[in-house]
Subunit: 188 residues, 4 copies
Amino acid sequence: MPVTQNGPADARTRILDAAEALFATSGYDATSTALVARRAEVPKGLIFHYFPQKIELLVALIEERVLIEVMPEEAVEAVPGDPARTLSRVARRFPLHASPAMRRILFREADTHTSVRDRLGRLNGEVFRRARRALELALPGARGDAARLEVAAGTFAAVLLYQENLSQLTGERLDPDAVADLIARALG
Amino acid sequence: MPVTQNGPADARTRILDAAEALFATSGYDATSTALVARRAEVPKGLIFHYFPQKIELLVALIEERVLIEVMPEEAVEAVPGDPARTLSRVARRFPLHASPAMRRILFREADTHTSVRDRLGRLNGEVFRRARRALELALPGARGDAARLEVAAGTFAAVLLYQENLSQLTGERLDPDAVADLIARALG
Amino acid sequence: MPVTQNGPADARTRILDAAEALFATSGYDATSTALVARRAEVPKGLIFHYFPQKIELLVALIEERVLIEVMPEEAVEAVPGDPARTLSRVARRFPLHASPAMRRILFREADTHTSVRDRLGRLNGEVFRRARRALELALPGARGDAARLEVAAGTFAAVLLYQENLSQLTGERLDPDAVADLIARALG
Amino acid sequence: MPVTQNGPADARTRILDAAEALFATSGYDATSTALVARRAEVPKGLIFHYFPQKIELLVALIEERVLIEVMPEEAVEAVPGDPARTLSRVARRFPLHASPAMRRILFREADTHTSVRDRLGRLNGEVFRRARRALELALPGARGDAARLEVAAGTFAAVLLYQENLSQLTGERLDPDAVADLIARALG
DNA sequence: TATGAATGAGGATTCATTCAT
DNA sequence: GATGAATGAATCCTCATTCAT
């Protein structure tokens, strides 16, 4: 993993940039390494210098460009007594740091590549965990039993995770804040 | 379009069966027509007799094996005053008739193939429409303004649509009835 | 060779019509029997009923639709003392009866199919023989020795045979009457 | 465009050599790229490294191996007062530099491939132009009006262009010098 | 005669990968 | 590191031909 940062962008970076764009548009299988090379403006052979197998391109992208922030349990913040604003905060601090292209890759290739699915699973787990923890902090005591809170966290996580896919399907957006508000009412 | 249903399934059906299974497992791009032929136990050439282009296999699968029931507005039923049971009904009458394999294909290939995305979009639209209409019927009058109802319907549709994908990621199930109950509380 | 002439055009005729048009446009090799069938509006199998091998389509076309009139030596007419009008007559009574499409096929496929080349060779021979005989009749006696007459006949035959190909290349026409006049002057 | 001329001929040259021989014998359509590879003793894939589409093999052959010398108007030479020897010279300085195999390809594929037809048309134009110019120089002044000269040039060009095709048909040769002599008499 | 499903060899082309330089 | 020619298996697809009905 050389981290030299010379010139306008070193070859390895250009290769990953190209792969990211192409995998996002056409999918991993439908993208040839030759096309990646052309787009990256590097000779075909060089790709295999950095990534001896094509699949390593995908793995490297996922590992280096899909960052999932793991927040320790105790760092999760909440607005006590206000589950709506609490969930809104969770939405705003979404633990996924990735370009729109990488998000598409993440969701698309998760279906067939285990390493990608693991990443996406971890993301989902993190979102779910944060939502639940935040709700526990916002609503201490008896109000809302544990099971309902679990369902609320799961629902919110599902919406956060898939809202982008949804809006690609229909064009309509599902506003996370509005969903936060809805769920808060259910727990209130 | 032969519809004969003789003996051990005619060739065209066997081809579609094979394609369905393989596309679901490995994805459309990663599945070769030769493999489909082998699995269907037909000669390679016959595939192109029925489906002159590989993509037509996918299109035929989607068109013939992903049925989306369109329910007329007036046929949507509700349990007046009980949004929870109303949404549960919506969940139970999910308008998608498709095998688990076809569901995977539907979600996976939607990302790159327009015709598939259209189908999935239509499904989402139908679920959303039903949920909203059912809620309107369950909660007539002033209770719950229109905007909130819209959000509720959208959230429920998102959960129904993506619960399968979610449970593949984490193993945990998000029970639609529990989500129905949650949303009902928010509107109650 | 069934000669039944029922309906608007029997199947065999329609097949040959289609083959003629397609072979002329794209060449024999580049034309599939399936395309011939589609254009003839007959089922694929029927072609092989009439023409068990694809090549027989070409052979039948040449045999049935490229008619070369063989004129007996004594029937060749001339305008005594006027070789120009004599050659013009030869040009007008060109012994090839074939559609423009068939002419293209004749010239194109002669290069690779012996039976077609034979036909074209026979045509050339006939034209040459007629030109020579006509010139002999037009110029009896000593004027113009035999060798020169031979060359004149050959030149005229070449022009008649290839004028179509020439005009396809450049758009310009080489008027046979003018060439007849030219050659007549040489012999005069 | 590697021009290295090392050892036993580089791969690209061997591929073109093989294609030339095979296209000439069987025609472009009837020659498979696999056969070209076998004859060139290169792996199948290498053909597509140099010529991404099969048609580019034909185009490259025409462009690189069919050279048509364009002679400037003022360079055309004539023997003043002797059109026969003048035309003989034109025949001897035929502007086509190509192997017999390439000549066959040129004539055969002109019928279906525009780029080839263009080349052949250019050749014909050049021959015609030279013949006309040479005759103008050989016969200055009033003798022979322009129209007749045009016909003479056209006739001579036709004979030069198609004499090879003719002799393949009948075995008999049409001697260009004899035709030159004939035409000269017509103009004399 | 007519029909179109069936067959499998062969076609052009793509592709990940290797390797000598 | 860099380069692009080389490799050959695999891919999608075409095709002449057969054959049961």
